[in-house]
Symmetry: C2
Subunit: 624 residues, 2 copies
Amino acid sequence: MVNQVPRGDGSWQSCKSDSSGASNSGGESSKESSRCSTPVLDADRSDRLRDKMRRRTESGDRWFSLEFFPPRTASGAVNLISRFDRMGSGGPLFIDITWHPAGDPGSDKETSSMMIASTAVNYCGLESILHLTCCNQTNVKITGHLTKAKHLGLKNIMALRGGYPTGHPEAESYEEDLRRLKEKVDAGADFVITQLFFRADTFLKFLDDCRAIGITCPILPGIFPIQGYQSLRQLVKLSKLEVPEEITSVIEPIKDNDAAIRNYGIQQAVEMCRVLLDSGMVPGLHFYTLNREVATMEVLRQLGLWIEDPRRPLPWAVSAHPKRKVEDVRPIFWASRPKSYIYRTQDWDDFPNGRWGHSSSPAFGELNDYYLFYLKSKSSKDALLQMWGEELMNEDSVYQVFTCYITGKPNHKGHKVICLPWNDEPLAPETNLLKDELEKVNRRGVLTINSQPNINGKPSTDPVVGWGPAGGYVFQKAYLEFFTSSENVNALLKVLKKYEPRVNYHIVNVHGRNLTNAPDMQPNAVTWGIFPGREIVQPTVVDPDSFMYWKDEAFALWIEQWAKLYEDESPSRMIIKYIHDNYFLVNLVDNDFPLENCLWQVINDMFELLDAPPEPLNDGTVSE
Amino acid sequence: MVNQVPRGDGSWQSCKSDSSGASNSGGESSKESSRCSTPVLDADRSDRLRDKMRRRTESGDRWFSLEFFPPRTASGAVNLISRFDRMGSGGPLFIDITWHPAGDPGSDKETSSMMIASTAVNYCGLESILHLTCCNQTNVKITGHLTKAKHLGLKNIMALRGGYPTGHPEAESYEEDLRRLKEKVDAGADFVITQLFFRADTFLKFLDDCRAIGITCPILPGIFPIQGYQSLRQLVKLSKLEVPEEITSVIEPIKDNDAAIRNYGIQQAVEMCRVLLDSGMVPGLHFYTLNREVATMEVLRQLGLWIEDPRRPLPWAVSAHPKRKVEDVRPIFWASRPKSYIYRTQDWDDFPNGRWGHSSSPAFGELNDYYLFYLKSKSSKDALLQMWGEELMNEDSVYQVFTCYITGKPNHKGHKVICLPWNDEPLAPETNLLKDELEKVNRRGVLTINSQPNINGKPSTDPVVGWGPAGGYVFQKAYLEFFTSSENVNALLKVLKKYEPRVNYHIVNVHGRNLTNAPDMQPNAVTWGIFPGREIVQPTVVDPDSFMYWKDEAFALWIEQWAKLYEDESPSRMIIKYIHDNYFLVNLVDNDFPLENCLWQVINDMFELLDAPPEPLNDGTVSE
């Protein structure tokens, strides 16, 4: 359990932002956001954590940060990444990931410190710090770690050991320990984070002593909300810290009551934090979360620091990789699988002018890499079978799965369908705007995997469809993407002739047979925003080139995530295989965004054509 | 008069498109427009004339082209360039400029063949061919001309001599002449244009004979509408052509009646062209205009080939320079001086992704170059003094000039004000939408030089504000730019506080004192369009960087074009100089394009503040 205890190795703690990894595009202002992620549309695209911290401090805006340690198992990693998403929504200035010497921390393992920190930056869009224990290491090894970190977009390093506010247990003396800290700061550290402590006075005295010997950089208090009796004991043993009498005297009598101890821990942390913040000397608080959510979130809520901001800088989550911060256009196809998109485009050097541009130049990553662990389903095989059917009878069984997913109603065995192979993420709130129509068409085998309503100039602050800074207007063209049978496609193609040139379509099967009325290979912008004092932002496009890459992924998911749940040669597997082999993937865009969305009418027309009696062979006269 | 006669030197005529000058951006389709200029938004951005010609021929769409010769004087050049704009509006596939050996044709003179052709391409947006007489020339000299032409964006060369449908007068024989033409075509000519002729049969026989010996490229008939007795005689003498009896017998009796001859010429040309087109062998007609408009336009109208298409590919005229064809964003400031903008940015290498981008990287050309002849006023000094006032009494005299320009009403001396120093072009039709408001504010010294109304999603085919392909929607933010006194600016700044953040402003005086509420140096898109199957197009922006370059030009025009009309030290000159030294240049953008334009309210509020009695010093209590 050593590695679940923060700073269990008693290491130095101070942080250095590596500016060399940053690549801010020219001509940008350096004003700063008050959010952790850096919205492309904000004036403030500074890449450097120390600058963000300085500006938040100068603005008088109190902030917090969160510390996590690497999990031991792959499924633990998947859970931790979900936790990053949830805790990231409260607005931490940064998160940090401890260095786990026993866990091969610099490796490519799913559970390594390096990979967890990389995932936080690249896929969760969180400003992140990677710890690095620098004692007992060769120069070559450390340089290797730093090079790799930089390549992964990790530009903040917490160089350990140190930072005990009462002096490191192995230090010659408190004074000597302070002198060593001064040396590290003089060597270029941007700020210091302390080891945990139990009394506000401990920190405030340490802060005074640091200032007295000329340490002027920010010093952040490390806050440890007591979460349980055992973890506290473990911590004390490893860190050689002494728990004050006033705490042990409360805890000992309730040591078997986890809830009581946690409540006490929350209350104790809130009180200590209030003293720290009221001192005027502490601009922000650093939390040792122990990878748990409840206690830290509760402390932050009581302090008023946890601020869930529903505003989205863009309609999709911006990656915090320094290179990708300027990215502001993506194809719509990966809207529900953003991590897959980031993964498959991670080697793109080029986001010219922040534009995603034509997909034809940069190569999409290979599809056979998609087994990467964080792209895997978060649900177990058993749970998936319960949702998607232990045994499929026919194609209609599949239609029912899609319908249950859309409606949120349980299937006939009583299980809710909370995910489909094509969705990393829960249904977007705006999908509710289309729910009734989606239900109707899925029931009849129009198996929708992506859709958006048309929007004609709603305020950018709209809680459902808004994004970007206040004072703007957002727009969308209606979009619908679905699998459907070749019989349906034949009828659809006839119907679509009536909707020229209003509706653009791309229809493709697994073999790549491609039907389209798009006049050329240009992308079609389907989401855009107009903001005060800004150029037009068009974050989402339907791009014909990348659709062919997405097609491979979308069809493969039928087999890899669904068919393979069943025995080889089983009827269930054969049904999914049949759909994979014979259905078409269709996308439709209604270009007339100011009018009522016509895509439902298109689908209805298709059903009507299918339902109509066959036309007589002669031109309308009925022979008797 | 030799040079006013086409092919007076009896030279070879065939045309070669130089593909090396073309630089089409990757990934573009090669489909073709049916218009002469190449709209950025059309799928068809092919740079090669021969491909355009082929596609128009394949589509069965008949087309025409126009030949001009270089004028002898600078004022003749200014007139010819206006004629290019007018005749370009009828939709020629290309124009061509003859090589004038006696006029230093490859020089930088305003009247050289090279400069006239360059102006047609770069400033008028016309696909153009430069003639080049290749006989009696050194290789070095020809290479020099070609290099220069390429640099100027002239990629089509008509290599002379030749092309007589009855055989060149100096040829050994008709058969030998045809054989030489075959050699030129085999050497790579894309198409052939013939010398003029008087009977359709002459051309059709020539065409047959060419095909018989294996000349397969397009052969265009050169059409010469007879426009006067003298010019016909001159032509006959130089070209050694024989005028058929049926023509001389009609012309001789009416040789002193210019109108009658021209009418006959039109009728004769129309009849001959009909025979040619009806033969099915002639996809297009080439006209020897003799630099005149009426006869050729009338022939084209009667043939139904003159098609004025009010659709604009973008809200500003697209340059036909191969490098600039991809340009699709410009700052709004030069909206009424597009030639100045093209001139000052002619050395920009870089229109990345067709975007104008930040002005900070490419350097604007020096302001002191703006005396370039085609940026000069088209009116004489006397005419300008009549419009702008022989003698100015005070600032109010200047306000009246602006007001007369806006209203179109004559000034107190009875002269209409048809131009101002800040306008190359006539008032845009959309300015009429603002006329009443503009008149009101100019009368009070808000001297407007640029404005556009807000537009919230009008069809792209709207005859007044539309642009781009059909099926789209165009949008604008309201924009207003004006000079005004520092007294007004002080009141305006107070008023603008009420309009935060709805209105963005930039206010600057001649010394560069700059007041703005723009949050950073990002451009503000003020014109954009949404089209089926396309990315968003935003052709016009308010860009803070380039505004500072425009400011220099806008202030300099007061002195260079207005003050200098008057004697040194004269009161009139001092008044203009006072305005130049003391007024501010203001631009305002109303970001709330879906709401009613608030900029007039801003100006009204400013006037109200100025008209209000001074506020008491204490807070509202009146002492007696």
